[in-house]
């Protein structure tokens, strides 16, 4: 057969190949007739060794390469998984990618016993490697040059922690904060809980030193009042555009004297105090704000100019314009935090209707010394100390109804206990009742729970249905599920434990950066267990509540993890295997099909060009099968290499012999090796070919294999969440191509492989061999012969 694709890549005529055979101290030579193998191979040099991997032999190889002026090398020995790296390092001055290995141990001598058949198979495996190596091209490892700088989006506890860690590792950090001050949610909370401690700690006292350190650090640049407008990836770096809104106050001049605020006629609720207090249109969010300057909120300012007149520093400029700041960074950390659940979505609880129904965050403000009541617990409606406080857990959490969140917000049980503890300590006459569905205080926090219980708090197991008000009290209606009784609880204050939801900033940043979200709209990690803090876009990381509900303790450790990931990519001087996709810009029509197909988001459009991020690309080849113009190739897995491998595997097939090609991904290959390591056998017909993913295969490869004498094709791949749907599609595509070519579908099999289930794989291979043999028997021999003659 004359495959146009194949011939296009025909190698230069005279290539000198050296083949080195390893006996592996009998491991191979006991079942493979090395003499016959040697004589059946067509190469310039064929040499056998007792133990190829020994230092001495390795040196020998190098000498022969030099002596014989070899162009390419094939090593027929153990699995490439074991020693490919070793041999690649030994072939210098040859380019390491001009070496190919034939796995005649794990996948040949260890799984078969019949010397004749095993030797036949070893010959064909070696032949395949020879064919393939002819098409190998020299490749250079890619060294990624990532800028030694990062953008951290969000200046809360997570963002500040990550920034400090990065700055201390010598990385330049830009913190982008949308509010006029950094500090995020943590700075609003008066007291915080910590594991193993039975007392609360002062949030500001813990956080402020960190903020100050960040402000003073030479590697940290804080941009407040700013938002991420756009982002472009370029050669592993990011070009960001930051929009800084005008603050109308010159930062370098303002001394924060506050004269302006005194004369400003506009009063609006202060969001930093959960709108429990008022502020002016020109304001400083809170005394410890960073940067320590006043700012004008554009929305509410009426531009009367009064503040300008009293400002002795001439710091106010009502005509100030916003600015766009371009940043070029090597990495981005998303630390955009959370927002509290909008409690008005549960109108039956009366939030917004009854003044004394408040959220936990509002209670935190009320009890903060710098809050609306200077830290005194007073009922909002009448300023009296409440006789009783009822807390309602899971408000908006663990609730599948519209507007609610199905997840547990994780922190609210502890938040409620913290506030309960605090109130019971300082207001012993105030009763606490917590209505809960489950109290969740895992790990060390259970100690704290016990401690708070001993302060006499009442726990009622039940989720309240509604909250109403009579003349003086609120009334919470709930079933005490442990007694099976409906109760009405009179109370002065109700505190709803609001759910944690992704902030608006999280959603918009995800969109701008093209980072995926979870079903619950938090930033999605590449693999929640094995690849935490890594998003699906290489070089972008996430930490804190932008990734999911969590407390400060977890946020801090996640922030440090994100920082170390950034440093890994920036400081690592990463050498990357060159086996990645490359785009031929002459053939590329910029249709973008490849961009849409890539599950790793490694291929992207930039400046009217398709680019590949070498770190993100894992060479799976998905893009190739989607490109109509054949403009993409995966280095080391070119079409010609694959075709060569196939034809090599099928070369010199004897009459009546069966050959089955097994295409597997890395995991499939490891599982296959494991079969050998455990000396389990399967039929000699099996020939295993390793690919980055079976997504790399196209129907043309399969048809080519059948036309060249393959009796069956077996596809095996680990069903990774990310690419599994594409694999299913691929298998479907191949099946319909077989139907078109009237090839019996029984001659194809797809199987999900798992590294530890090699026994299953072995029996699947055996079963498939039988299935193929049956399929061939029932085939009209004429038809089969005809099609193979047609070639």
């Amino acid at each position: 057969m004359n495959n146009s694709n194949f011939s296009r890549y025909a190698p230069k005529s005279s290539i000198d190949i050296g083949v080195f055979l390893c006996k592996c101290g009998g491991n191979i030579s006991d079942t493979v007739d090395i003499e016959r193998l040697k004589t059946s191979i067509d190469a310039k040099v064929v040499k056998e060794f007792e133990n190829l991997c020994s230092i001495k032999c390795q040196k020998n190889i190098r000498d022969i390469i030099l002596e014989e002026e070899l162009d390419r090398v094939v090593i027929a020995a153990c699995s490439p998984i074991t020693h490919e790296k070793t041999f690649r390092n030994q072939v210098a001055p040859l380019n390491p990618y001009l070496l190919e290995m034939a796995n005649i141990r794990e996948q040949c001598s260890w799984v078969h016993s019949d010397v004749d058949k095993t030797t036949d198979k070893a010959i064909s495996l070696t032949n395949a490697a020879i064919e393939r190596v002819k098409y190998a091209r020299p490749l250079d490892t890619i060294v990624r040059k990532t800028k030694k700088s990062a953008a951290v989006i969000g200046g809360g506890i997570s963002g500040i922690t990550a920034s400090l860690s990065l700055a201390k590792q010598g990385i330049k950090v830009h913190i982008i904060e949308e509010k006029p001050t950094v500090g995020g949610n943590m700075i609003k909370i008066g007291k915080i809980f910590s594991p193993e401690k039975l007392a609360e700690e002062c949030a500001l006292c813990l956080f402020n030193p960190l903020i100050n350190e960040a402000v003073q650090h030479k590697n940290i640049d804080i941009i407040t009042n700013a938002e991420l407008k756009s982002s472009q990836r370029k050669a592993g770096n990011f070009n960001l555009l930051i929009e800084r809104k005008p603050t109308f106050v010159k930062e370098d001049k303002c001394t924060a004297c506050g004269n302006c605020a005194e004369v400003c006629p506009v009063e609006v609720p202060n969001e930093w105090n959960e709108k429990l207090m008022m502020r002016k249109a020109i304001y400083k969010p809170f005394p410890q704000s960073v940067p320590d300057v006043y700012t004008i909120d554009e929305e509410n300012c009426i531009k009367c100019g009064k503040c300008q007149k009293v400002c002795t520093m001439n710091a106010i400029d009502l005509k100030m314009k916003g600015e766009n700041i371009p940043l070029n960074v090597g990495s981005v950390v998303i630390a955009t935090g959370y927002k509290g659940f909008d409690l008005k979505k549960r109108p039956e609880y009366g939030y917004g209707r009854y003044q004394d129904v408040i959220s936990q965050m509002e209670l935190a403000r009320i009890m903060g010394v710098n809050g609306p009541t200077n830290g005194k617990l007073l009922r909002p409606s009448d300023g009296k100390i409440p006789r009783r406080v009822v807390m309602v857990q899971c408000a908006g959490s663990r609730d599948e109804k519209p507007g609610g969140n199905r997840y547990c917000s994780k922190v609210c049980c502890m938040v409620a206990l913290k506030h309960a503890n605090f109130i019971r300590r300082y207001y012993p006459d105030t009763e606490i009742i917590i209505c809960y569905t489950d109290m969740r205080t895992p790990g060390m926090y259970e100690n704290y729970f016990r401690h708070v219980q001993s302060r006499e708090i009442k726990l009622i197991r039940g989720r309240p249905g509604d909250i109403t008000k009579n003349d003086d009290n609120l009334i919470v209606r709930v079933e005490d599920t442990l007694r099976g009784e409906q109760v009405e609880i009179e109370t002065d204050i109700v505190v709803l434990s609001e759910a944690m939801e992704p902030s608006e900033g999280t959603l918009s940043v995800a969109e701008t950066l093209n980072v995926s979200l979870t079903e619950d709209l938090f930033i999605k990690e590449k693999h929640p267990k094995m690849k935490p803090v890594t998003t699906d876009v290489e070089g972008i990381y996430v930490c804190g509540t932008a990734q999911g509900p969590k407390d400060i303790t977890d946020s801090v450790s996640q922030a440090n993890a994100a920082a170390s990931k950034v440093s890994e990519i920036i400081n690592g001087g990463l050498e990357i295997e060159p086996t990645i996709a490359v785009v031929d810009h002459f053939k590329c029509e910029m249709c973008g099909d490849c961009v849409r197909s890539c599950k790793y988001k490694a291929i992207y459009m930039h400046d009217e060009r398709i680019s590949v991020d070498p770190i993100a690309c894992n060479g799976c080849g998905m893009c190739i099968s989607k490109c109509k113009n054949e403009a993409v190739e995966v280095m080391g897995q070119t079409d010609s290499q694959i075709f060569a491998m196939i034809s090599g595997m099928l070369k010199d097939k004897k009459d009546g012999e069966r050959r089955i090609l097994v295409f597997v991904d890395y995991i499939g290959y490891v599982a296959s090796d494991n079969i050998g390591i455990n000396r389990i056998s399967y039929p000699e017909s099996i020939r295993i070919i390793k690919l980055p993913s079976i997504n790399r295969l196209m129907p043309k490869h399969i048809i080519y294999a059948f036309e060249n004498g393959a009796d069956g094709i077996f596809l095996g791949e680990y069903p990774d969440d990310l690419i599994y749907p594409a694999i299913k599609e691929k298998v479907q595509e191949i099946r319909s191509e077989l139907i078109k070519n009237s090839i019996d579908l029984d001659r194809l099999m797809y199987y999900k492989v798992y590294a530890p289930y090699f026994r299953g794989l072995a029996s699947k291979l055996t079963e498939f061999d039988k299935q193929v043999s049956k399929a061939l028997d029932k085939l009209e021999p004429v038809l089969y012969k005809a099609s193979s003659k047609d070639l």
């Binding site: 039956e348 609730d399 569905t437 989720r463 709930v478 079933e479 409906q486």
Partner: protein
């Protein structure tokens, strides 16, 4: 004391309810967290011994006495529980299925017998009406004007320029045929028999 025997499928009852045509898709019985939110909003729970959370618990424990328990007849079918349950369960639908089960088993038929006349009117005219058995009681509560209204209905409807209430004859026949074939007519007969027995008793 109740013993949970090994090998006993305690989810049978729950499963049969989930499969019922009356149950919504993805009815969350199995996900019930016994939070009691249903009960705290349930009108029947407020005024009787009925407790929707407990009904769900009993279903999950395959408590088959539930089917014969009069307690299930307290539900209003107000769907309040259904609309707020955090796991998309619905005591309301569970009750509806349980009642159908007891109707099929026999016991429930007498419970619905008083309403059989509603179906009679449906078969007669394609319209349901309040069974006349209840009239005397209703007049006591509603007052005589109500019965006058019934008498003058045609006239009032004319005054309001409304079209005819009754369906064309052919359509009523169609409806009868449909209900015959769905098995409803037979079911109705059985319910009626139950009523007659009661009446003669």
């Amino acid at each position: 004391m109740n013993t949970f025997k090994i090998g006993e499928n305690t989810f049978e009852l729950a499963e049969s309810i989930i499969k019922d045509l009356k149950a919504s898709d993805n009815l969350g019985i199995l996900k019930c967290i016994q939070c009691g939110m249903c009960t705290s909003t349930c009108p029947a729970a407020r005024h009787t011994d009925y407790d929707p959370r407990e009904i769900i618990k009993r279903v999950l424990d395959k408590d088959e006495t539930l089917i014969k328990d009069d307690i299930i007849w307290n539900c209003f079918y107000c769907y309040t529980c259904h609309s707020i349950c955090p796991v998309n369960n619905s005591a309301c639908e569970v009750n509806q299925v349980l009642r159908q089960k007891t109707i099929d088993n026999g016991k429930g038929k007498s419970k619905i017998a008083p309403f059989s006349e509603y179906a009679d009117s449906y078969l007669e005219s394609g319209l349901g009406t309040i069974p006349s058995d209840f009239f005397s009681d209703l007049i006591k509560d509603y007052g005589n004007e109500w019965i006058e209204l019934k008498a003058n209905l045609e006239e009032i409807r004319k005054e309001l320029s409304l079209g005819p209430m009754l369906l064309p004859k052919k359509d009523i026949e169609d409806i009868n045929e449909i209900l015959e074939k769905t098995g409803f007519t037979k079911r109705l007969e059985r319910v009626r028999r139950c009523k007659d027995e009661k009446d003669t008793r």
